[in-house]
Each structure stands twice: as structure tokens, then as C-alpha cells.
């Protein structure tokens, strides 16, 4: 390129990652989240290798059918989220709002079901604290023997609790995005906010896919 041409060219930054800043920012943030869940999930894996007797077979203490349904719900919410994004990509604001609302409702439902699950589990003595742990398993009488050990409870609540917190924060952010959508802030040309909350939401679903498998099924 000649100097004359350089002097008159329109100045734009180097192409870099070839995605816009907010999207790159969300991906980079999600990498840090991967490491955060690594420390929690990694601790669980390591403690389980060290003390396998603290865990039981799947389904004995934890409610697999309920959580499998919850997993299905969260996956559905990923679909509604991606439909919301696809809608605004076509400039369909009504569709955007509708699918966002569906995502919010399902996401909140996920958290609600998880809370119901927590109440049931703690009622059955499945608790995180060392002194309080006395898990009698699903449907067993309260005076039954303790199944597994306190590490089971501690790691369970740590992993699923922080995941649930991330889902809850996601729901709040989705509500914010919904409000912005109602105010007409998103158009065919500019809907970065929808895409990046979508990325966060799918990530939260992705983490759950891993968690559901290794916490409930293994």
C-alpha cells in the first residue's frame, strides 16, 4: 500500500479476533467461569477419588427423575433463547420478546424446582455440614442408617448451589434484556445485548449438562 493511500485511508483498528468487543468480552468472561467451575468440580472429582465411600450409587439419595426433567427444562430454555436471538436477527421484536419471556419463565422454573429439591433433600438429612449429615435416602424412614458421607453433601450443594446462583443471575439479566426489548432497544442492525446474554445462558446450560451427568448419574 503506498504512502499516499495510507495517508487518506479510513482509519479502523486491526481486525483482531474478528468479533465485536462485547461478544469477545463475554467469551473471555466465560473462560474465567470455566476455571471457576473447574475448581469446584475438580475438588469434587478429587475428593471422590480420595474417599469413594462417601458417595452412594446414583438415585439412592438424589432424585434423578426430577432432575432429569429439570435438565430437559433447561435445555428447552436454551432453545427458546436461541429462537429469541434468531427472531431479532430477522428484526422480529415481537418474537424476541415472546421467546425471551419463555426463557425467563423456564429459567425461573429451573431454579424453583432446584429449591424444592433442596428442601426435600435436607429434610432427608442430606446436608453439607459434617455434623449435620445423616442422609437416609429417598423415601426411607427417618431413623434409617446414614448413606454415604458428608463430602457427598458438601460437594453436591457447592456445585449445584453455585450453578443455581449463576442461573438466577442469568434470569435477572434476561429480565433486564426483556425490559430493553420492550423499550425497543434492539433492532435488526443492533442487538448485541441479546446475543451476549444468549451466550451466557447457553454456557449455564452447558455447565448443567456436565454437572447433571457427574453429580446425579455417576
Amino acid at each position: 500500500m503506498s504512502n499516499a493511500a495510507v495517508a487518506t485511508m479510513e482509519r479502523k483498528p486491526m481486525p483482531g479476533m474478528k468479533v465485536y468487543n462485547k461478544k469477545l468480552g463475554m467469551w473471555v468472561f466465560l473462560l474465567s467461569e470455566v476455571m471457576f467451575f473447574t475448581s469446584l468440580i475438580g475438588s469434587y472429582i478429587i475428593l471422590r477419588f480420595a474417599h469413594p465411600e462417601h458417595w452412594t450409587n446414583p438415585g439412592v439419595v438424589l432424585n434423578v427423575p426430577l432432575t432429569a426433567t429439570n435438565t430437559f427444562l433447561l435445555i428447552c430454555s436454551s432453545v427458546t433463547m436461541v429462537k429469541a436471538f434468531a427472531a431479532i436477527q430477522q428484526g422480529d421484536v415481537t418474537g424476541l420478546k415472546r421467546w425471551l419471556l419463555a426463557t425467563i419463565v423456564i429459567g425461573a422454573g429451573f431454579v424453583g424446582i432446584q429449591m424444592v429439591e433442596y428442601v426435600a433433600l435436607s429434610g432427608e438429612g442430606f446436608l453439607p455440614a459434617l455434623d449435620a449429615y445423616h442422609a437416609v435416602g429417598r423415601g426411607n424412614p427417618h431413623e434409617g442408617p446414614s448413606l454415604g458421607g458428608p463430602l457427598y453433601g458438601a460437594t453436591f450443594y457447592a456445585m449445584t448451589g453455585f450453578h443455581g446462583a449463576h442461573v438466577s443471575i442469568g434470569v435477572l439479566c434476561l429480565i433486564f434484556v426483556y425490559i430493553q426489548a420492550v423499550r425497543g432497544k434492539y433492532t435488526l442492525a443492533d442487538h448485541e445485548g441479546v446475543e451476549i446474554i444468549g451466550l451466557y445462558w447457553h454456557f449455564v446450560d452447558l455447565v448443567w449438562i456436565i454437572l447433571f451427568t457427574i453429580v446425579y448419574l455417576i
Binding site: 479476533m17 474478528k18 468479533v19 469477545l24 467469551w27 473471555v28 466465560l30 473462560l31 470455566v34 476455571m35 473447574t38 475438580g42 472429582i45 478429587i46 477419588f49 480420595a50 446414583p58 438415585g59 434423578v64 432429569a68 435438565t71 430437559f72 435445555i75 428447552c76 436454551s78 432453545v79 433463547m81 436461541v82 429462537k83 434468531a86 436477527q89 444468549g198 451466550l199 447457553h202 454456557f203 446450560d205 452447558l206 449438562i209 456436565i210 447433571f212 451427568t213 457427574i214 448419574l217 455417576i218
Partner: protein, 89 residues
């Protein structure tokens, strides 16, 4: 945005595959197999589901390859940490 220039991934199809895999996982988990085969099979299915979400719902398959490198960068670290510490026990 570039996404409008190429075909939509078939979101509903992916959803059906995810549903099938979830049911398969639950069924598989209760089969009478040695623990190691259960674990390996379940992890394969979980990773398959995770990849589907990442590639299609998060649109990674349409993003520049350099973003893929970025996206996978924490994974080797996670593997190293867990595998190294497991050797302690």
C-alpha cells in the same frame, strides 16, 4: 451480522438430539456395568451434548477459528489440575 448470510443451524433438530441423549444417559446410568464403563459412557454423552450446545447454540461453528482456540484454552488446564491431583490418592 454474518449469521444471516448462512443457513440457520436446525435448532429444533439439535434440541431433539439433546433430549434423546439425556434420556439415553439416564437409561445408561442404571445399567449393570462396571463403574468405569458407566463413567466413560456417561462422560462421552455429556461431552457430546456440551459440544452441540457450544457449536450450534453458541454459534461457535460460525465464528472465526481463532475464537475456537480461545474457547478451548482453559480445558487443558482443567484436565492437568484434576489428573495431577488424582495421582495423590
Amino acid at each position: 451480522m454474518e449469521e444471516q448470510e448462512h443457513a440457520h443451524p436446525r435448532y429444533i433438530l439439535i434440541w431433539v438430539v439433546l433430549l434423546v441423549l439425556t434420556l439415553a444417559e439416564v437409561g445408561y446410568a442404571f445399567m449393570d456395568l462396571p463403574k468405569i464403563w458407566l463413567a466413560i459412557g456417561l462422560i462421552i454423552m455429556a461431552v457430546w451434548k456440551a459440544l452441540l450446545v457450544a457449536l450450534y447454540y453458541m454459534h461457535l461453528i460460525y465464528e472465526p477459528k481463532r475464537l475456537w482456540v480461545l474457547a478451548v484454552s482453559p480445558l487443558p488446564l482443567a484436565v492437568i489440575l484434576v489428573l495431577a491431583v488424582i495421582t495423590e490418592f
